[in-house]
């Protein structure tokens, strides 16, 4: 089913503030990819590379009526599985299926907000690099190159027919791969296995199935926490500031999210009751970098898909500016 032409017609109307044609077409592809990811039924195997690891996983995504179901299953190492359904997330890991704290009610459409796209415009140069084949499908290659060294380069391969993202890479300034994922096998549409949707219901999701009323998850409430970070790179706009619960935490956690359209930085602030001798330091996983420190009685954690020095810079500048 050729969705691309119809999609373009709809989405071109949504995209705003575009200048050069190359850039506008690239942003179109991005919106197409986001849209297709939600709307398309697909099933496939992809490989995720990060740091010294390569792991293979299986993903099934089903969208029907107003609902989305998605299952992600690791094929290497110990069994890990993530099931997502309309904003809720369950994770099977260490032989247990646990519901993750998640924030329901994320906007479904537009999948990329106009603000995100214009932020992207400000911080990245977008260009198309031709067509390549991935998993047997033709893909348009688009490149988002940052205008400073405080963020990573993003490269994407979008299926020219369905708009699905087939491959994506995050590259460092030196053109090293921070992380990359690529489909090796992909079935789009057609008969997709849906048996797992019911199976998961009986697999002991704490007694409740996916189709039943979900466990009430306390939504984070939007607040003005009084915390600020002075040294955010330009182009990062605050997209969220909430007080929320997190699994394993005794008290509420403030989460402030900033985004430049392609990457995001989260700042978590919580009471430091752990009394840890945790060494302040930087750790990483693929494109994600994380660092934390104790400031007065608070534990501040910064995580984002930005280079380590950016995370450190932001962390250093977090301070309380409230009453």
């Amino acid at each position: 089913m050729r969705l691309s032409i119809a999609l373009f017609g709809v989405l071109l109307a949504v995209v705003e503030n575009v200048h050069a044609e190359d850039r506008s077409v690239s942003l179109d592809w991005l919106e197409v990819a986001a849209f297709a990811g939600h709307q398309t039924n697909y099933s496939g195997i992809f490989v995720y590379q990060y740091d010294n690891h390569v792991e293979t996983s299986n993903i099934i995504h089903v969208s029907e009526a107003d609902s989305e179901f998605e299952k992600l299953e690791s094929l290497d190492g110990p069994k890990r599985e993530i099931i997502r359904h309309d904003g809720q997330v369950w994770s099977y890991t260490n032989h247990k299926m646990v519901q993750m704290e998640s924030q329901q009610g994320r906007g479904r459409f537009p999948f990329l907000l106009p603000e995100q796209l214009s932020a992207l415009n400000a911080s990245y140069q977008a260009k198309q690099l031709g067509v390549e084949r991935v998993a047997g499908y033709d893909a348009q290659v688009i490149l988002f190159q940052p205008k400073d060294n405080l963020r990573y380069t993003h490269k994407m391969w979008v299926h020219t027919d369905s708009g699905l993202l087939l491959k994506a890479a995050v590259l460092t300034e030196k053109n090293h791969v921070a992380e990359q994922y690529a489909f090796t096998q992909l079935q789009i549409g057609g008969q997709i296995d849906r048996s797992w949707i019911k199976l998961s219901a009986s697999a002991g999701l704490q007694g409740k199935g996916l189709s039943q009323t979900p466990i009430a998850v306390k939504n984070g409430e939007t607040i003005n926490s009084g915390w600020v970070a002075d040294m955010l790179p330009t182009g990062f706009n605050k997209t969220m500031e909430i007080l929320r619960t997190m699994r394993g935490k005794h008290g509420p956690v403030t989460q402030i999210v900033y985004s430049d359209g392609l990457s995001a930085i989260s700042i978590f602030i919580e009471a430091n009751d752990r009394d840890e001798d945790d060494v302040d330091g930087l750790s990483s996983r693929g494109a994600l970098n994380l660092s934390h420190k104790v400031k007065d009685k608070y534990l501040i954690t910064v995580v984002g898909e930005v280079p380590p020095h950016t995370v450190m810079q932001v962390l250093d500048s977090v301070r309380y500016n409230g009453k």
Partner: protein, 176 residues
């Protein structure tokens, strides 16, 4: 770019994972199938037009491509690999080849890999599983989830090498 890819592929098997991989491959046909998929990736990344499903053909082809792919390696290593590869069947012995390759990484490759590591970060400073909840909380609001969809969630669920050893406690086993 080619140096990077070959270093990455080798790097993945450079550590203790080799034993685990071989073990699993001996036991599990599904894993062998994934192994084939894994080699497919190499082809996808390097030469998108040449995707084969026959594993041994791929290995042979890669050996033929050898000078470009394995530039940093020493000549004797390349010879060894060529000998082994050509006699490999599309099964466990092919696994042995790649394992052999990784174990035989020549000195000039190792610093290159080390350079790449330090260019990003020291490998030892990996985000610990205890921080996974931060990653999941971050992931919910990250644009990568918008564009990449569910696939990007895979990085929020990590495992440490300790957990790969089979220390399943039967009394803790849940429904699945």
């Amino acid at each position: 770019m080619k140096h990077k890819i070959s270093a990455l592929m080798d790097g993945e098997l450079f550590e203790d994972d080799v034993g685990v991989v071989l073990d699993q491959l001996k036991r599990d046909p599904a894993t062998r199938k994934n192994w084939a998929a894994y080699h497919l990736i190499g082809d996808v990344l390097r030469q998108p037009d040449h995707i084969h499903s026959d594993l041994s053909a791929k290995v042979r082809e890669r050996m033929q491509d050898e000078p470009t792919m394995l530039a940093p390696r020493s000549y004797s290593v390349r010879q060894k690999m060529r000998t082994i590869a050509l006699s490999a069947a599309a099964s466990l012995s092919a696994v042995g080849v790649v394992a052999w390759m990784s174990l035989q990484i020549s000195p000039e490759v190792a610093p290159q890999m080390a350079m790449q590591q330090t260019a990003l970060r020291p490998v030892s400073m990996q985000i610990q599983p205890k921080s996974d909840d931060y990653l999941i909380a971050h992931q919910e609001f990250s644009p990568s989830a918008d564009v990449n969809g569910g696939a990007s969630y895979i990085r929020t669920v990590s495992y440490s090498i300790d957990e790969t050893t089979h220390n399943k406690n039967p009394s803790e086993k849940q429904a699945k």
